[in-house]
Symmetry: C2
Subunit: 416 residues, 2 copies
């Protein structure tokens, strides 16, 4: 089955919001063997929406329309759908009762806009929205299915997960697609491509390889197509085993595993714990780690020490060291890691101290200078990096780099 | 000038990455009076790319193509462009020398893939990419401009900012569009719509209003079109003043200001400082605050106290209180805020303790239960919230709610 996603909303086209809905839907569809042919973002405008729907209908079996619904937005989308499906708006009692009960719970009176949300095109099947007031709508025309869902992410997600996908997959027989992504770090894309060229050329016909570079790593996605998933899994794993022999040190995980998840698994397997001391990364390392479900099993906590006073008072860094070498220094990075390891009673600790920018740099220590400190079982050290001028990017890069170094140290010490 | 963005990449259509490039370009274009008509994401596939370019060329004056370039991806995009513009690939010496010098600096030998990046369609003008090896390309055909840039975000940003926009705007006279977004919180979208209905209906013809709801707030975007920006600014500000009289308490900022920025400005204006103690929000509040440039002026630091031991040892929470009431309790939230305020020597402190999920809930304290504590000049209190089942969302909502409450307390105390 081939699908197109149409997102409606001026806010996307003026760059006020990022269209995260499409990526989420694409991921869910992909996992269920539905191919996304195209994603199209259009204005809240009658003729533009109509044109996008007409074009999509010629290409795909399923058109998913997100956005353009909600108490203050309904008019254009619903009237456009009525025109395209040659139908009219009718009042839907069960939608109305649902809206009413939501408002009653909140002790709020319904106004006209709320009541109008119960108006739906006569020819559609309502997809009941338990998470909000705008219903989803399912239409069929000339062998194509059209589904309209609100743009509020958690309402959209609910409707896709609990209404759309079950209804779609009930009678569906599709080719199985199996993806597995190998996460690598430490080799630039072009060098990696040469290194694994022979392996790539020898891949079976039904496996496609894609390079997905990002600032800190290159991901290699293998996509296999066939009829039986278990066979595809074996086929892909066989190829990955061959790859592991070519670049054994560079592979740090698979699929959507994050470095934090990989580190968490390592630590849990040895019942070890972690603490973090952050200056320039400002809490982001802690956030990456605590985003992992169950991280409380291996993560004791972190200290964001923005002021030198906190570096001294809470982490126990010697004030003389700060005066002598400066807060952004090898010595302070090491002391921070040691201090947080000791005070948070942990087996491993990682620290950052640097100049995230945009101001605060000097000739000697320009914006982007970052020291990353590690305190492990046996070793304590710090490494210097000079990233760029962008604050946001410097925060992300120092955090990711800190986790990379930490992983290597843990791996090494666990082997000893 | 009207533009379409075409993003090339299977990784977008299977939901492996979120297309943040389009939002960034849309924002920059919008600020420069270039309207984005549509955003289209297509596969790394010859006929699909060609079709998208052909369709776009019929609708807009400028087609921006991102992605599909890079050492391992060049082939399809470049050959498609050659076909569309009826030209061939030629070797570009200055691009080659640039690539070579980048590799020499890194002490790496060039391989064939790297050398091939110096092949560019003969009829294009090269946009020089100082940040990477894939050059940008500028084409013109039948009064339409076509620009192809790599998909790596910081390379794309460099080329758009330093090459594309200056070249585009040199001879351009466009209508001015001025946007200002009012950030509100505390009133649901449908109620807000009714409350400000008369104001909305009385807006001048050349001002368009858009509601941009998100889980924690509703943003109201006013877009004014005209010939002189200064006039538009006055016109919009006049309308916003009227709006302020209708919903004075709900407006917390403008445009892309974040709650953390607004709080930072408040604190700096009174030379006050802030500290944070996080349990369930796991460092995310600290990250939101330290993402603000200059936050070291008002932010002392934070403690992520994932284990009770840290709550006691580093924050000084009484162990008996934790045993008696549990870590997720009003008492512990208050003690955490007080403790971090004292130990980090700050004027204000905010704390979170809760169950982010997916596990760890009980009948009495289900997943999503969060206590937010505040310690200000005069008052110490904690408030309970019950969010949902989603860990990521619970982290975000507890962080945003904590900042909202903090802002209200600071505002109130500053008035006293």
């Amino acid at each position: 089955m081939k699908a197109e996603i149409i997102t409606i909303g001026d806010e996307i086209l003026i760059g006020q919001i990022i269209d995260t809905n499409s990526a989420w839907i694409a991921d869910r569809f992909n996992l269920n063997g539905i191919e996304i042919y195209q994603i199209t973002s259009v204005h809240d405008e009658h003729s533009h929406i109509l044109e996008a729907i007409e074009k999509a209908a010629k290409k795909v079996d399923l058109v998913v329309i997100t956005g353009g619904l909600g108490p203050t937005k309904d008019d254009i989308t619903k009237s456009t759908l009525c025109e395209y499906f040659d139908t009219k708006l009718v009042f839907n009692d069960s939608v109305y009762n649902h809206i009413k009960s939501r408002f009653t719970k909140l002790n709020i009176d319904l106004n006209k806009l709320n009541r109008d949300q119960a108006l739906v095109p006569e020819s559609c099947t309502v997809l009941f929205n338990k998470t909000g007031t705008a219903p989803g709508m399912w239409f069929e025309k000339d062998d194509t299915i059209f589904v309209s869902v609100p743009g509020v992410p958690f309402e959209m997600k609910y409707l896709v997960e609990h209404e759309l996908l079950p209804k779609l997959l009930k009678n569906e027989k599709t080719d199985v697609i199996y993806h597995k992504t190998v996460l690598t770090q430490g080799i630039p894309e072009s060098m990696l491509a040469v290194k694994i060229e022979d392996w790539e050329n020898a891949l079976p016909e039904n496996i496609k390889l894609a390079y997905l570079p990002s600032p800190m790593s290159v991901r290699l996605r293998l996509s296999a197509t066939g009829t039986k998933e278990s066979q595809l899994i074996d086929l892909v794993d066989e190829q990955i085993q061959k790859l592991q022999q070519i670049i054994p040190e560079s592979i740090f995980g698979y699929n959507k595993e994050t470095l934090a998840e990989v580190i968490g698994e390592l630590l849990k397997s040895e019942s070890k714990t972690l603490a973090v001391a952050e200056s320039c990364s400002g809490g982001y390392i802690s956030h990456l780690i605590t985003s992992v479900p169950g991280s409380s099993e291996f993560f004791n906590g972190s200290v964001t020490a923005y002021s030198n006073q906190i570096k001294e008072g809470v982490l126990g860094v010697d004030g003389n060291i700060i005066s002598e070498f400066g807060a952004v220094s090898k010595q302070v990075a090491k002391e921070m890691a040691l201090g947080v390891k000791r005070n948070l009673n942990s087996d491993y600790a990682v620290s950052t101290t640097g100049i995230a920018g945009p101001t605060g740099g000097s000739n000697e220590k320009p914006v982007g200078t970052v020291w990353i400190g590690i305190a492990g079982k046996n070793e304590v050290f710090a490494k210097k990096f000079v990233f760029g001028n962008n604050r946001e990017r410097n925060i992300i890069r120092s955090s990711q780099t800190a986790l990379q170094i930490l992983r290597q140290v843990i791996l090494k010490e666990l082997e000893e």
